[in-house]
């Protein structure tokens, strides 16, 4: 059996099945929805960071941009929710194109510039002068499309597409070429790889993923303010979850989300002080002992991790 098919059958399909069944046996649908959103975002970070090495500290910019893309379509053009989700993804891609000059930077400079760019998008959207379009800082209310069950199903579709993209990267020469660019752009060019084109494709793919996630999020919550959908927490959580599990793998970000977001939901609300203590210790331990994530426990032993 080709490994791509194996990955789809034994990793992606069970994950989707679990999250498709859980709402009928577990009551806290919002929490399940958030799990799915973070799975999407962590895999989106995986696409850009794991495969190209660009750390997107302002990843939430695409997410918030997608949420507002959805809102504008519903409020002004009275679009149906699925159409608005597609437009949300395109809004992410458009933002990605606008910000593609950032790819000239690398390392911490890229991360900081990307963070600044996300803040710029937030303040653009939240500008009171744009009240007639985005409702500025006063937030949007999208009662026309309110349908949490349909939005949850849409989130699963987006998760399926995202996972499919990661499986493709993990099993294709295209993904291998992306990793070669991450390892050494000069040598990658000398292997015949168009470095700039590769980076832009990965960047736009991760922007599309976050835009779609923002769209389904807007559909699900239906009432939100700029500060909600542009909250830096989305970037930080998605990055930490992906890194904790281990990037450039399929299972790493999944493990990271299930474990860390699980801990967050267990004690994050009830005893936030312990949560922050445990989170801090976990992240310090990770950086010190497992900089390549939990999966490196296996890869160090020479085991192959999909």
């Amino acid at each position: 059996m080709p490994s791509a098919l194996r990955h789809l059958l034994f990793i992606v399909a069970p994950l989707l099945a679990v999250f498709a069944i859980l709402p009928s046996v577990y009551e806290n649908h919002l929490m399940l929805f958030n799990f799915v959103v973070f799975l999407i975002l962590a895999q989106g970070v995986n696409v850009i960071y794991g495969f190209t090495g660009y750390l997107p500290f302002g990843y939430v910019g695409f997410f918030g941009g997608g949420a507002y893309g959805f809102a504008v379509m519903v409020m002004h053009l009275h679009a149906s929710a699925p159409v608005a989700v597609v437009v949300a993804g395109l809004a992410g891609v458009a933002l990605g194109l606008l910000l593609s000059p950032l790819l000239r930077l690398s390392g911490a400079y890229f991360a900081i510039a990307n963070l600044a760019a996300a803040l710029a998008v937030l303040h653009f959207v939240a500008n009171p002068a744009l009240e007639t379009i985005t409702r500025g800082p006063y937030g949007v209310s999208l009662t026309a499309t309110f349908n949490p069950n349909a939005a949850y199903a849409a989130a699963l579709v987006v998760l399926a597409l995202t996972m499919g993209a990661v499986v493709f990267l993990k099993n294709s020469r295209f993904g291998l070429a992306l990793q070669s660019v991450r390892e050494d752009p000069v040598s990658a060019a000398m292997a015949g790889v168009s470095v700039v084109r590769m980076r832009v494709i990965a960047w736009l793919a991760s922007a599309l993923i976050a835009g779609l996630a923002g769209g389904v999020y807007a559909w699900y919550v239906s009432v939100f303010f700029p500060d909600n959908v542009f909250s830096g927490t989305f970037s930080i959580f998605a990055i930490v979850f992906a890194l904790f599990g281990g990037v450039a793998t399929i299972v790493g970000p999944i493990v990271g989300v299930l474990l860390l977001y699980g801990v967050y939901n267990l004690i994050g609300f009830t005893t936030p002080q312990y949560f922050q203590l445990i989170y801090g210790l976990l992240i310090m331990g990770l950086v010190l002992f497992l900089p390549a994530g939990l999966v490196s426990l296996a890869t160090r032993r020479g085991w192959h991790v999909p």
């Binding site: 070669s180 050494d184 000069v186 060019a189 015949g192």
Partner: protein
Amino acid sequence: MSPKSAPILEASGVVKRFGGFHALDGLNFHVAPGEILGLVGPNGSGKTTAINVISGLYAPDGGRVSFRGQSVGGMASHRLVHLGINRTFQVPKPFLSLTVRQNIEVALAYGRAASAPPAMASLLDAFHLSEVADRPARDLNNVQQKTLDLVRALSTGPQLLLLDELAAGLNPTELDWIAGRIKALAQAGMAIVVVEHLMGFIEQITDRVIVMNAGKEIFEGTLAVAVTVPQVVEVFLGGEHAA
């Protein structure tokens, strides 16, 4: 193929400046298919800069670089690779976290070799990398990493190969072995430019050398003749040694 055939690469009056420093100051040379050309000269004479310009890492600030009659100065590296130019690096630059096999696979898949490149298995075998094929490149020793750099270049089916100090750090057995490999590639019609400090190695493999000083060629011919030219002796050893 005879070294007398038409040049595949011609550099004429190539200039490369870094600020006010002229790393290349009107360099002229050519190399023909099947020929091994040595590029020698003291440190800082512009040998590596010449290779960096020809392989697209730097755009020239003046002059003309033509490959198979086409002007290629300033073209992006990956496009030069597709045209048939490749190189190795003085400090090898493999994709460290990828396996040896994956390193080669990228070049085989994206190199767009004009004629079918050698198969993975024969490359691994010919360059003694079969045993480490599934190890990450970071596990290799320096000589193996240099060999991998060479195999990565060969996987793209180059017609012009630029070798930047490939021999440095090799033991005598490895030197003989790699010299044999390079000669075999030239006999198959590849044009090869070798930048090297090891004069014995240069003597063993090259048909012709260019001696560079301060970004220009000061001698062209065989190494045996070069060492009798006062100007060449002067740039290597200092004025008082020149006869």
